[in-house]
């Protein structure tokens, strides 16, 4: 399902450092390298350790599933990878850049051009149509109108929603909204997509279809995915599975 071939986008304007979302990328260098990552929070007079010396390497086209119960540290890990939060110790190297050495503006720029996000809730802008929602990252990156229209149509076709592109978010079902969110995460040809419980709000059938879609895109377009999940089906489709428990990340069994 949704295994729409990713055709070459021709005159597309991939983000800085991107080969375009259909370009094959060499897997020699990791897109993400996490070393000895520690995150502590001050709570009252005490300290809570959310992540303990986490190490991780993710390569282009790889799908990584991170399993763990609520409060285990999954989301904290994604926040630190996205540069939305700062680690207490350790290193996050994203696309060869040490995040600690980037300014807030540079991190924002990196999120805009190199990262894609899929949240547990779709978080679409209700006033916008499906196509306009998908266009948001390209508008932020000031991509020309005709290019925006072409790529958003392509992205919606990829998730099987080309016919629904003029519908506003509240007019779409939960599964459709999540597929629009995936199109939005992919439309600007990111190198890494961070998906935080992307199937958490969906029924199992729709959830599996979404996971299938992400795996196809990862393998065909060379985009890396990190998916946090409770769903065993997500583990089954991933290239590598990790368990996180009490802030400690370990390789997991399928």
């Amino acid at each position: 399902m949704h295994s729409v071939p990713l055709v070459n986008s021709g005159g597309g304007q991939p983000g800085p450092g991107n080969a375009g979302w259909n370009g094959a990328r060499p897997a020699a260098n990791p897109v993400l390298l996490v070393r000895e990552l520690v995150k502590e929070y001050k709570v009252g007079d005490g300290t809570v350790t959310a992540l303990r010396r986490v190490n991780l390497a993710v390569f282009a086209g790889q799908v990584i599933a991170v399993r763990g119960r609520s409060g285990a540290g999954k989301t904290t890990l994604l926040n630190l990878i996205a540069g939305l939060d700062d680690p207490t110790h350790g290193l996050v190297v994203l696309f060869g850049h040490d995040l600690a050495k980037l300014s807030e503006r540079q991190r924002t720029e990196m999120r805009r051009t190199e990262l894609g996000f899929v949240f547990q809730a779709a978080h679409l802008v209700p006033a916008l149509t499906a196509r306009e929602n998908v266009e948001v990252p390209m508008r932020l990156a000031k991509v020309a109108r005709t290019e925006r229209e072409r790529r958003s149509h392509e992205a919606l076709s990829l998730v099987g929603l080309a016919e629904r592109e003029q519908h506003r978010a509240p007019e779409l079902s939960g599964g459709e909204q999540q597929r629009v969110a995936i199109a939005r995460a992919l439309v600007h040809a990111p190198r890494l997509v961070l998906a935080d419980e992307p199937t958490g709000n969906l029924d199992s059938h729709t959830g599996h279809a979404i996971l299938d879609l992400m795996r196809n895109v990862a393998h065909q377009a060379g985009i890396a995915f990190i998916i946090t999940t409770h769903d065993p089906a997500a583990s089954a489709m991933a290239d590598a599975v990790y368990d996180i428990n009490d802030g400690v990340l370990t390789p997991g069994q399928r």
Binding site: N79, L84, T108, V136
Partner: protein, 370 residues
């Protein structure tokens, strides 16, 4: 403006209600401005439109025309001062007249001038004053509301002296009364009818209107004995009741602007709070605070501009139907100025919202609490 325009289109009722509030605030501002301007104009438009820079009064008259009596020779004395371009006599008096054939009594302010001087008012109907016809008078057209027409004979009450209406002018009121322009000798015969009322002055006038700069004004004050010099503006401000009237309405306007700022700030802040989640998600997707702030400011400006235009149109509609007796004067310049002030007030009202946007946390917005 990408998000702003689509939100306006999508949530028509919500933004329509806020726009209606903005339009009502603008309407109230324009109505009060029109009233303030109307009152000021009604009280002193004859002084506002006086074709002079300064007025020379009798010393101690505290720049009040009705208190000042000067001899006609003062005009020549002023003219001889270095830097004075021109000077002309001015007389003032409040009278009651009655149109022959009517029982209605009309209060009016007499301004007496030399018909050949630069103080002669622009004529819109009939002819100007003529020294050869000393009983001819020119009236402000507001007197037409009392049925006065060109060629009418007016009787001065209670003496019964008669005058003929030879022309009408406009924008010439004084102390909320229409002005009757007349030649100096006629005014003298009315104002100083009682023997000895001019004291020792044989050829009296009220004041001297002068065209000159500030340096010449200082020389006139120093060199001409028994006079005090005031600018046209301070003469206007010192008209009886002028400052009190305009001051009251201006104070109401100032409070209205302050209240408008709070109303707008509250509306925009609530709107921003409602959209905090959306702003946070957009930040996570890579939107800068600047991008989001620009969108909000654009939305606020667009709503305020539409509100101001609607408010102005409503005000012009009211101006068209308001009774002529109500002093109301709304000029385009006034609408532009106060519309601009409202825009600035609206922008000030967004400051709190912009602060809120700056502190929106993407992590909180996307619900990442794990």
């Amino acid at each position: 403006m990408f998000l702003a325009l689509r939100e306006l289109r999508h949530s028509r009722l919500r933004y329509g209600l806020i726009g209606a509030i903005l339009a009502l605030v603008a309407w109230l501002v324009f109505l009060l401005s029109g009233l303030a301007n109307g009152l000021a104009t009604d009280n002193g438009s004859a002084i506002q439109h006086l074709n002079a820079d300064y007025v020379v009064f009798q010393s101690g008259a505290r720049t009040l025309l009705h208190r000042s009596i000067l001899p006609m020779q003062t005009v020549q004395a002023v003219k001889q001062v270095s830097g004075v371009q021109d000077a002309a006599p001015l007389g003032q008096f409040t009278i009651t007249v009655q149109r022959v054939g009517s029982s209605e009594q009309i209060d009016a302010t007499v301004l007496a001038i030399d018909p050949t001087s630069f103080l002669a008012p622009p004529i819109i109907t009939g002819t100007g004053l003529d020294s050869a016809n000393q009983n001819g008078v020119v009236l402000d057209r507001t007197a037409q509301r009392h049925g006065v027409k060109l060629g009418d004979t007016l009787k001065v009450m209670p003496a019964g002296q008669e005058m003929t209406v030879v022309g009408f002018t406009e924008g010439q009121t004084y102390s909320h009364l229409p002005v009757i322009y007349m030649d100096i000798p006629l005014w003298q015969s009315l104002r100083f009818a009682a023997p000895g009322s001019a004291g020792a002055i044989t050829d009296p006038i009220s004041a001297v209107a002068v065209k000159m700069d500030s340096a010449a004004a200082a020389r006139v004050a120093a060199d001409v004995p028994g006079v005090e010099v005031a600018t046209k503006d301070s003469t206007l401000q010192n008209l009886p009741g002028y400052k009190e009237e305009t001051g009251s309405v201006n104070m109401i306007q100032a409070f209205l602007f302050i209240i408008a700022a709070f109303i707008m700030a509250a509306f925009f802040y609530v709107l921003t709070l409602q959209k905090s989640n959306q702003f946070g998600v957009l930040k996570a997707l890579g939107a800068s605070t600047r991008f989001l702030a620009r969108d909000l400011v654009g939305q606020v400006l667009l709503m305020t501009i539409v509100g101001v235009i609607v408010g102005a149109l409503l005000s012009y509609a009211v101006a068209a139907i308001i009774p002529a007796a109500v002093p109301f004067a709304l000029s385009t310049g006034l609408v532009v100025v106060y519309g601009g002030v409202l825009l600035l007030v609206a922008l000030a009202g967004t400051l709190l919202s912009l602060f809120q946007i700056a502190r929106v946390d993407a992590l909180v917005a996307i619900g990442r609490v794990d």
